[in-house]
Each structure stands twice: as structure tokens, then as C-alpha cells.
Symmetry: C2
Subunit: 381 residues, 2 copies
Amino acid sequence: MTWDDERVARAALTAVVEPGDTAMAGRLKDLTAQDLWYHLLADTDERWHERATKTDVDQMIARAEKATLRFLIPTDEEWPLRLHDLSWIERSGLGGAPIGLWVRGPARLQEASERSVAIVGCRAATSYGQDVAMEMAHHLARGHRDGTGRHVIVSGGAFGIDVAAHRGALSANETTIGVLACGLDVLYPKGNVPVLERIAQTGALVSEISPGRHPTRPGFLARNRLIAALTTGTVIVEAGWRSGAINTVSWAHELGRVVMAVPGPVTSSRSTGTNKLIRDGEAILVRDAEDVRGIVGELAPEPERPDGHSLPTDVLDATELAVHEALPAHGSSGLDELSASAGVPVAQCSAALTVLEQLGLAACCLDGTWSVSIAGDGRRG
Amino acid sequence: MTWDDERVARAALTAVVEPGDTAMAGRLKDLTAQDLWYHLLADTDERWHERATKTDVDQMIARAEKATLRFLIPTDEEWPLRLHDLSWIERSGLGGAPIGLWVRGPARLQEASERSVAIVGCRAATSYGQDVAMEMAHHLARGHRDGTGRHVIVSGGAFGIDVAAHRGALSANETTIGVLACGLDVLYPKGNVPVLERIAQTGALVSEISPGRHPTRPGFLARNRLIAALTTGTVIVEAGWRSGAINTVSWAHELGRVVMAVPGPVTSSRSTGTNKLIRDGEAILVRDAEDVRGIVGELAPEPERPDGHSLPTDVLDATELAVHEALPAHGSSGLDELSASAGVPVAQCSAALTVLEQLGLAACCLDGTWSVSIAGDGRRG
């Protein structure tokens, strides 16, 4: 990524323009970002003139680099093609494609977006909703044992359903993307910072506003359009009828994305939105990851990892994975030791080691002890 | 109802033929019941010959009369026209219109059937399912305050959802119909006998098998076709995928009746059937009585009561009803006394009495105390 003039100008714009400003998005269809930025600086009648003149672009970029953010613009290869669908969409004065995207984390957005599903819902979720969100996200992220059917879980990083969905994907050691309404160095909400940091390590945090900026209410609504646009479909797990998650549904409908909802007790206020969406034919009822896959498809081809490789451990079952994890990083261990360490009975441990050996994930040493395969340690760091 | 030859012969047939025997139903399209009964008695090759010869028809009719049962046949005015839809329907060897219907209770079946909704579900229901069934049945039975939108609740008298639905209708003092798979003098299940007896007092119990006969497994399945056929639509409140309630759905579909289902937690085994029906587009999601009305229609005109009159108390709100209930059956009460007895503040009690007086449901005596109107006590016994 090079900070050429266009990129710098677009970054500057994300520091002053409110997200989802359709007027600005519209002008960028005819003007270069440099020209637009020049107008904002030069013309006192411009809506964002005041903010523009007060913005120290160099300092902002330095701040972003310090926070290890990158800044994507539509001409980048990593720019998610799905976002182009936003170009002509406007709802209640919000819309348009983002001017640019601040990103933190190893996930490549275009690839991740192609096979992604949004899982969203209300903040004040019940344990039912959180359990379903986590389980669904885990299985959607993890995919089938043959490595197919994996999806990137996209959500908004909020309390309740959002963070449960992120956690589910993280528990499967898979990519999840948090689309935030704040600058990526001032994470919000504070209570979710530990999870958001984990997302940034293995997946990505994404925002269309510049580092240092705090979320606003319209900003959350604008953020919802990104969640809908980035994904193949949106699942609402639990939401009252006035929940922000329902706003995401409107965007998904407008964008022609499939909308799915998890039913819940008709006696639960947190399921009024989801049940109504299903009843009104605005969402398809989904019960689990399998239902979601049946609707958004199995999404071939198999995605690339952030590091460009798929993991051989993806095909292991829980027992095999436990034994694999028990293998020492250096040196070797005997069968009894591995059995104890993995918490797996000796017979099953032995069977698992045979599978691991066939996969090149374990090697039997001359003294009968086991080590990680010399062919390459498939385990993640 | 006169016990002419045709009626006696049909009654005899219900004592020997298994319910839903399509062969017998088919032959009754061409033969009179007397002729068919004669064949069963005379021809040793007839499937039901043995049973027929052992049947004491006079004794069976005496038994029915002792239990205050009536026996309807298709030429009766009270015969539900909807049952004709069964004539050409067969599923897994069961089907056809019933040969006759044993009935106990004041409800007139044809009228009740025209504005009826079935509410069914599994026996091992959760408290969620039972609450929803009872609430839905109550409000569907009770209708709107202007007296419209009332529906007769039909169910199978079983434990769980069925009995909750019956109870809901009874709690609204409205007609409910129990369609049973047993003879109406040997009620099943025993634990529901108190409720079934109450149904017989104000609504009706219905069965296509003769008094004294006990339920069989095919009998339950055949019974389900009657529930589906008698009603404008069927609501499944809670059911696993292998529940008998799902069998009722198949009949409803085959009969072109609307099928509705209440969603539930995707984590509840008792909602797997209902959620799947909704997901597969085989049932419409309903949350409450209002949703059901929106689907089966408001069903004008207003039905007649078993006694042929609608109740003037139907238009009262909860406060007015409470005050009306507090009026003594004999003599009169003062305002303070009524206020205390009804649990309604004096001012509201006074206002309610004015309404009741205008409706002719209360009368102010010369000494300022209040009595039930001399024009007629609208309260039920």
C-alpha cells in the first residue's frame, strides 16, 4: 500500500465526512478525491469546510500507522467488490459506497467478503440468543470436516448477539470481521476490547471513519449498510422490532442480499423482530449453520487463509485435534504421556496418532515416542 | 333425532368398523348402510363379519342414550359440511368421511365447524407451549370486544397442547370441541376427564367410534383427519418432528386447509416440528390469536350460541365484567360493597354500573343499591 495522493485525499475525507454521506459519495463518481478535498479546503460554503481546515492529515496517517492500520480505496485489489452495490443505494439520507476502509488485521477483505455471512442481533440478548449465535457462528466458520462450507462471520462488535457471533468464529480458530462505527484505535464498546483485539489478530476490524473518531448514532446506521453489503446474507439471531439489527435487514433487502432469522419464543420481546420478519416473509427461518449454508450456498472455492495456506488440521476431529495439540513443540512424547496430556484414553490416542501420522502431522520416532511431523508443523502459533 | 333404519345401521357400523376404513366409506357411496350392515352380517368373507355378528346394536344404542350421546349421519342438518372434503382423501390406508359421528354436548357441529380453528401439539409440551396454546385459544375463542372474530377451538383432548387449548377456550366461557379417538362414555386420557366433562357441558365431544370402544393407534391417526377436516385451519403450537400433531398437518394440507405454526427456540426439541414446518414453507408462522385471525379471516357472521343467543356481557370490558360478576344473584348490593367485592375502585365501579344499566344488565333500586337487571340475567350459570 502506497500513500499516493488519491489515497491520502480519501483518508483525509474519512476524517471529516460523516459515514454514509451520499452527497460526498456521489461527487466522488465525477471528481478525484484530491479535487474534492481541495474543494472542501477552499470553499467556505462546503458543508465539511470547517472540519477539513482543522484536519492534520499527516498526523492522522501517522496515528493510523502507529495503530497498524491500512487504508483501502476502491482501486485496491483487496477492495471488496460487493461494496460497489452500495453506489446507488440511499436510505433516509444515508448510503453510497464508503470513501475508503480502514482495516486492521490479516484477513484480506475481498476474499473474506466473498464467502461471508453476517450474524447480528440485539445488544440486550438472552442467553438463548447468545448460545444460538455462538454455535451458529462456530459451525459456519468451521465448515465441514472435508474443509468445505467455511464462511467468514461478519458482525458489528457490539454487546449481545454481535460479540457472541465473533466469539463463535474465534472459538473455531477462524476468520471473523468486525465492522465498527468508531476509529480503529479507539475501540468501542470498551467491554468488548479484548474480543475486538483478538479479531484484529486473526481476522480484521473494519471502519469507514478515521482513527481517533468516536461513534455517532448515524454512524451506527451507516455501519449497518457495510455489514449488509460486505456479506452474502445476514442472519438476525435475536432482535426486538425496534432493534438496530432490523436496520441491517433493510439494507440487506435493498442490496438484494438474503435475510435470514432465527425464530424464538413468541413470548420473548427479544424475538419479536425475528418472528415478525419470518411471518412477514422478509426473512427465511434458519435454525442452525446447516440451514444458513443451504441458503447462501456452500461457496466454493475454498477460501485462502490470511497466510495463503489452508491448515491440514482442518480435517481432524476433536480427539485427533486434542492429541495433535498435545504433541510437544520440540522433542517427543510417549503414548502414555500424550494420552494424559490430551485427556484422551490410550487406545483412542494411539488411533488418533495413526491418523495424524498418515496426514503427516505426527511422526513416530525410533524409540517409539511421537513428535510433530518434520514435514511441517501445521499448528497455528 | 330419530333412530330410523339408516341411522341404526350406521351406528352399528361405527361399533365394528375401524375408523378411517376407506373401503367401508367407499361402499357407502353406493350402498345404504342397512345393505352394508346386512352384508357384514350375512357374508362370512366380510372383514368385519365376526365383529358384526357379536354386536348387540340395541344395547349399544341404549348405552349411548344413557350417556346422553346423539348420533349424527351425513343427511342431518347438523352434519358438518366440511367433512365431505374427506370423501376422496386417503393416506396410508386411512381416509374417507366418517360413517357417523357420536356427539355429546350442546354445540351444533355444522355451525361450530364453520368458524373453527384447530389448535394441536405434542403431549409432552413445555410450559412455553402450554402458555401460548392457552392464551391463543382464549383470545381466539373470546373474539373482539364488539363480538366479532370469535372462533371455536377444536382439539384432540390429549395431554399437553391439546388440553391447554381446550382450557383456554373454556376460560373464555366459549365453545370448544374435543375430537376423541375413544367412545364418548369411556373418556381417554383419564387425567383429562374433568376437562373433557366441562367441554361436554358447554361445547361438544365428538367421536366416530361407538360408546364403549377404547382408542387404538390407527384410531388416533384417523381422528387427526377429523380435526383437520372440521376446521378452517390448524395451528401447531409445539411439536417434535415425529409428533402426532405433524400427522394432523398432513391431513390439513391434503384437505387444502391452512396450516399455521408457532415458532419456538431452535434449541427446544419440542419446537423442531413447528420450526421445520415454517422453514419448509409448510406452515405460516403465527404468534398469537390476531395472527391466526388474519389468516383464517374474521369469519362473519357471528355464530349462534348453543342456546341460540349471544350474551350481552360479551361487549363488557374487564372492569365492567368484574362489577357485573359482583352483582348478587338475588337481592341487591350497595356501591361500596360492589366496589369491594369486584376489587374495583368506587369511581370506576360507579361508571361501570352506569354502563351495565344502559345495557340492561344492572338495575338501580329505589334505595340506591344495585341488582342484576330484571330484564334478564345475562350471566352464565
